[in-house]
């Protein structure tokens, strides 16, 4: 039975690592959700005279500052997700990561009005020395990127509809609508390859229609 001793250590290591990553994923989800809430609150607050930047830009900056915590958490976990381990524990890492991408892409949209690229997301996940590729904490999968962004459209729906009650809200809503339509159109091609994307695309479609209906109601 001595050969089982070695197995025992390996299995215990695996279980511990799995637990650590599940806990970290929950913490990252919480930080990301709080950041999204913060982004809504600041971006929709009325601009004050004398402010150098628009509410959106200042929301985005504060949001991104908040999200640095997430990067630090990943850096601390890097031994648990290095190399092949990332793939072994992908199921534990993904949920938090997708929430993080959702928050990050919302912050990016508020400042630039564009879709954050996967490269930009990957760039926030470098090791301490900030060097490229070789220093990735872990590789960003196409799936996590697309599924994270897909969740963004629901937030954008709430953002667009809330902004309709403000001055200049219609323009804001129309540009948000254009963005959501683009996401919907661009991502449709990925549905066969990415699991669960098709369900999220249906949610995106619903969000898009809700913005369209809200804009319509303002027009007539």
């Amino acid at each position: 039975a001595s050969i089982f001793d070695a197995f025992r250590a390996e299995i215990d290591d695996h279980n511990d690592r799995r637990e650590r990553l599940i806990k970290a994923s929950r913490d990252i989800t919480n930080i990301s959700k709080k950041t999204i809430f913060l982004l809504h609150r600041i971006a929709l607050s009325p601009p004050r005279d004398g402010d150098a930047e628009s509410p959106e830009v200042s929301a985005s900056k504060k949001g991104r500052a908040n999200l640095v915590q997430v990067r630090d958490m990943y850096a601390k976990l890097k031994d648990d997700i290095a190399g092949d381990r990332f793939w072994r524990y992908e199921g534990q890492v993904s949920p938090g990561l997708q929430e993080y991408i959702e928050a990050l892409s919302f912050a990016h949209f508020l400042e630039h009005g564009t879709l954050i690229t996967s490269e930009d997301v990957q760039r926030t996940l470098l090791g301490d020395d900030g060097q490229p590729a070789s220093r990735l904490i872990f590789p960003l999968t196409v799936s996590d990127y697309l599924l994270g962004i897909s969740d963004l459209t629901g937030e954008l729906m709430r953002y667009a509809i809330s902004s309709l009650s403000q001055r200049g809200g219609r323009t804001k809503a129309m540009s948000t609508l254009a963005f959501v339509r683009m996401c919907k159109g661009d991502f449709d091609g990925f549905t066969p390859q990415i699991r669960n994307l098709s369900k999220k695309q249906s949610v995106t479609t619903q969000s898009m229609k809700k913005i369209e209906d809200a804009v319509y109601a303002i027009v007539v």
Partner: protein, 209 residues
């Protein structure tokens, strides 16, 4: 020996399934491309619609050769055995063809014309055909889409479109009312059409004020 024979048959069926699947993936790609194009109809002025349609038509035509390939893969008499593999794609092609026709001249594409536009030949009928049910599914998708178009055309300042859509949709709706549908998905989708019809009528109401 009997079991070996059976295994050969199972093997060849599974190979055929793979071959059909390849074609179906191609059809799905074309479907997504066309739906992607047509999706733009909600955000462009009506003057640009003809160009949009011009970009869709050749893709629709390019499905003909794939349909032909599938019709050659399917063994004689086995249409109903394999059709589930491409049903979704086929229904979306019906939608595309009927939507293009509506946007072109405001008329309803008949089953026969849809079959022709998809390049489906009558002589393939035991291997590849367009069943009534799938045609009707495509029309329901069209009504769903038109209720969205009614909303967005008003937003773009086109107040005529909802009237055109309303008349068109009412005809389809009253046609469906007469059908003796089984209690299946098609029936449930038809039941939900009422909401689209109502929504379109409310839009016509809003613009008539």
């Amino acid at each position: 020996a009997d079991l070996e024979l059976l295994n050969e048959r199972l093997e060849s069926e599974s190979q055929l399934r793979e071959k059909i699947k390849e074609q179906v993936l191609e059809l799905d790609k074309k479907s997504r491309v066309m739906l992607g194009h047509l999706n733009k109809v909600h955000s462009i002025p009506s003057s640009e619609v003809p160009n949009l349609l011009a970009s869709v038509r050749p893709v629709l035509e390019s499905t003909h050769s794939i349909h032909q390939t599938v019709s050659q893969l399917v063994p004689a008499h086995q249409f109903w055995r394999w059709k589930d593999m491409w049903t979704n794609g086929l229904r979306s092609f019906v939608f595309v063809a009927a939507f293009v026709q509506f946007l072109t001249d405001g008329t309803l594409l008949s089953l026969a014309d849809t079959t022709a536009q998809l390049g489906i030949k009558d002589e393939w009928k035991d291997r590849f055909a367009l069943p009534v049910e799938d045609y009707l599914h495509g029309l329901i998708t069209l009504v769903n889409e038109l209720s969205r178009l009614a909303v967005n055309s008003v937003t773009l300042g086109n107040f005529e479109e909802p009237l055109k859509i309303s008349a068109f949709v009412k005809d389809i709706f009253s046609g469906f009312t007469m059908l003796n549908l089984k209690n299946d998905l098609l029936r449930r989708r038809f039941d939900s059409l009422k909401y689209d019809v109502k929504k379109i009528e409310e839009i016509v109401y809003d613009v008539s004020l």
